[in-house]
Amino acid sequence: MIAYLTRRLLVLLATLAVASLVVFAVLDLLPGDPARLMLGIDAPAESVARLRHDLGLDRPALSRYGAWLAGVVVGDFGTSHTYRVAVGGLIAERLVVTLPLAGLAMTLTVVLALPLGVYAAARHNRPADVAVMVLSQIGISVPGFWLAILLILAFAVGLGWFPAGGFPGWGTPLAALQALALPAVALALAQTAILTRVTRAAMLEVMGEGFIRTAYAKGASARRVLWRHAFGNALVPVVTVMGLQLGFLVSGAVVIENVSYLPGLGRLVLQAVEQRDLIVVRGCVLVLVAMVAAIAFLVDLAYAVIDPRLRAAP
């Protein structure tokens, strides 16, 4: 168990190290002068020189990378040249929107998909199963950001039940949740469809096993067999996909936040790209990538809890 955890942790750290190098290198190897690129062609020479110094461009690349990484480890991502504030604080401010949005979408996904998947599997090839499969096929094909636009048109512009965009802050929790509701539904739809199909497939696979027949033969109720015997054993692929989805929700939020004008990490990174604020882009991308990698690590840990046989696997 300890060897398994150590190996997974090393993979996580190695991925993070390489990712940080890639993020640094991509933004450092820009053709031309990054400082000039950020400030524009008309910027005065003194401003460019000052930014070059701030960015450490007058030092060797390796020393810049070392200094940047040392800062990142303690949460210092540098100072944004457009917002004039610490990037770490800026990211933390935006995560307060992005993480709850991803969390809400994931909760919706799990709450809807697991029962739907089990239900469809229990009614294999009957009309209810076919209906769930057709709906999930459509759900997978609809782009989340288009759904977000349609939801805004129907429930914000038409019915006025939800705000059309923006975020009031967590000072008013109910209004904040209301602002996150439509984007979370839009983000969750495709993931719900995918998880429903995965749950159904995993359940059908397990339902064909001998121990399910044994459980029925022992007189266990259909509900008990379905949830206690079959569902528990179908969890490995379901958790794998859930982990991938959580990572996807965090990055998928980049697009959805821009539909609903939510001040999250995705909106921050897009604005930073438009303003060519490389220091902010670098910090945001690293945080997004680190979150995706950390989720993959947590999924590996979850495997070990769900299925002890996997601990020995590489």
Partner: protein, 275 residues
Amino acid sequence: MTRALVGGLLVGAVLTAALLSLVWTPHPITDLAIGERLRPASADHWLGTDPLGRDIASLLLAGAQTTVAVGVVAVGIGLIGGIVLGTLAATRGGFVDEGISRFCDVILAFPAVISALLATILLGPGAVNAILAIGLFNVPVFARLTRACVRQVRVRDYVRAAQALGKSSFSIAWDHLLPNVAGVLVVQATIQFGIAILAEAGLSYLGIGAQPPQPSWGRMLNESQTYMFSAPWLALYPGLAISLAVLGCNLLGDSLRDALDPKTRAMVGARHASG
């Protein structure tokens, strides 16, 4: 069977629209008629006009070109890169395998949207850069799949026989390994095609994919949002076009998978979550 038919028809419709728009659209897509702006559907403009007075039906037809180009090139990059890396990893093993597997981990840690953002900073916004970013993200998807399939096939007797005959690694891979994993790769390619369409639409919506005047369904959705209150129908058609195109790819992919050996189904299982 119905699935294959519907999927084939939808994908066929997108391909036909893309080809047709090369030679004919109801109105030229560069025709700006400000006096005709934001008109609802009529006999002259079947789906109405956009804020610049352009014919929406014509824009949709021409937008299919971008969609097909993105799908073909992004999946092509993924297939070529993935097959080479996956076959190398499976047949060489050891450090090569470990190196390629870790490379895939790192690339997959950068979701397509993030890679596209980085590509935008490096190379500027544009459809080509978006395609490259989506294609790069496809490489590990195909590399992992090829690796898993080739590892299963390479221990078969006919491969061992070819080795005993002294055939080169390349000709073994080309003659014996790849033909036996091609089916699974074709299925995955169909599904990745749909994912590429969704990714391009998302990037163009954000303004970092296709740039004007190149028509793109994602970009049309972006432009529709400004007129959400006055012309809500603008958001309807491009979204519907994207959804139907992706639905077609998914239906076709699913029916192809079912037509193959059932044992291969598990290998293309967790496909969409990777997008």
